[in-house]
Amino acid sequence: MPTFGRPVQEKSLSEINERIRDGSARVVTAEEMPDIVDELGPAEAVREVDVVTTGTFGAMCSSGVFLNLGHSDPPIKIGRAFLNRVEAYGGIAAVDLFLGATQPSEDRGIEYGGAHVMEDLVSGKQIEVDAFGVGTDCYPQTELETCLRLDDFNQAVMVNPRNAYQRYNAATNTSDRTMHTYMGTLLPRVGNIHYSGAGVLSPLSNDPNFDYIGVGTRIFLAGAQGYIMGTGTQHNPQSGFSTLMVTGDMKKMSSRFLRAATFHKYGPSLYLGIGIPIPILNEKLARSTAVRDRDITVPIVDYGIPRRDRPSLKAVSYEDLKSGIIELSGKEVATSSLSSFLMAREVAAMLKQQVEKGEFAITCPVEPLSRLGSSRPMKQTKESPNVGDVMSCDVVTVREDIGVDEAARLIVSGSFDHLPVISKDGRLIGIITTWDISKAVAGGKPSCIGEIMTRRVYSIRADEPIEIAARTFDVHSISAMPVVDRDNKVIGMITSNHLSRLLARRR
């Protein structure tokens, strides 16, 4: 490609590997690179720097390991298997299993899962294996128990369908209850903001156009040398959310960079350290590895809305997120991360050291990663009803100044145990139940229902799926709630009876 005025600075991969071998390569981390490029300019930076190391350390749910147990005598064709009571997928060859990171255990629930089995194996612990087979002429055994350590497996190959997200949506919660999510504890009424990702050190943010990173790139994977298999699931480079599918030998991994985790009321996950060395082959790579926290932006997404398309409240940079405070709708909100920047730094530093010592050669990718991806919503062929399809419309509402006896009469003559209470302009402000009335009568003194109604009333919209109503009933132990429109005006009632009728009809 001709450029006028000056030649484009370039360098070959073999030149760089030559320097790595003789110990003269100049290696810096992605945190050091921006200042170097600012000072020297991209062309001089290509001459100066050979490799930029990146790193990330965070929850990577889409991870797992293929295990080969070796054949027993008599042989067994394993259909179902449990490792420390965590089920592993056996629907492949006789003694091959796939253990997924987020699979909870049968006995300890989410406090121990697939990720914990992996951490135990990598830490050298012994695990209990219970395997069940169908029994065939060639594999007569139907059941066995054994205890294995990582060394006892023929192979333990980590294969992770989606790791090392280029960047990740930050999370907050506008609802009025604390939510426990895979983005951690989100306090009610925008009480905090959680984020994930290493920003300036993020491997894919340092090469977003895949000028180097590709199929076959050698990477740092939890302390071992692993490889990029290709693009990860939900890879979506068009919108800046690229992902990687990676593999590596678990037997060579270190428990420092492979940590089992549990998100409260969500489930197990695996924290992994991943680093990619990026050779500075040309000015384009010098420029892309000069990315800073302030250049990488993400939306703050409202996890208070339990739907796929959660509203995003504001776009912020990793620099904003890392500052610890973000202003959101006139309020200062505390931010904190779920991924560890300290550990991401350690990954990048360790990788830098390995390259400098000549222990980590840079591979030439077999093929670049695809610049097109897909992260479309699910095609759902079976329509699930919305609240509006099953609710009752003949709802009686009352004002808060009516007497308790009148409310009692209305409940007796109507079809619900609940009366939504509305303001003068028709907006929902509370709810009154038969229990509230009984309690009031037993107590013997209230005059109007405004004094005894529940003001913290849960409601739902007609266009929301019934699953959301069922979850709200379950979480708050309630049996009915008003259905409201955009202006919070009551248009119907949905009760647990509506939902059970629906179930009965389906069966």
């Binding site: 951690g184 903001i193 959680h194 940590r259 985790a261 998100f263 996950s269 924290y271 920047f341 550990m343």
Partner: protein, 128 residues
């Protein structure tokens, strides 16, 4: 300085805090209280110079008093310094220092939000 009071069944109905305030004239602040029909757990902020006196006054009334010197117990082998505890803490006990999570003593009220919020299960309340 924070003191944690464990109030046993026999005395939970007695106005303990009020009587201790009258006796010691200490300006105490009730930071957390969970009291049911049979027992109670209360965290008080007490000026440092009044601490021994207030502690003795409660103990005289049969209350078990534990000074909260260490905020929470952290298993250093488990902690990865992610920060999941930082923004969920109501009293801002945790903060980053060069991306290492540090805990300040004297702020924790033993609410336990960080214990369940820690993905690595690295945190424990002092008294549990």
């Amino acid at each position: 300085m924070k003191l944690m009071l464990h109030v046993s069944p026999g005395i939970v109905r007695y106005p303990l805090i009020a009587s201790v305030i009258l006796e010691t004239e200490a300006l105490v602040n009730i930071e957390r209280a969970s009291i049911d029909a049979v027992s109670g757990e209360i965290v008080l902020e007490v000026p440092a110079e009044k601490c021994p006196e207030v502690k003795a006054a409660f103990e005289k009334r049969g209350v078990r008093v534990v000074p909260l010197e260490i905020p929470v117990v952290r298993d250093e082998n488990e902690c990865v310094h992610c920060g999941a505890c930082v923004s969920i803490c109501p009293t801002r006990t945790f903060r980053f220092e060069d991306w290492r999570v540090m805990a300040d003593s004297g702020r924790c009220i033993q609410c336990g939000a960080c214990v369940i919020g820690c993905p690595q299960r690295a945190l424990k309340l002092v008294l549990k």
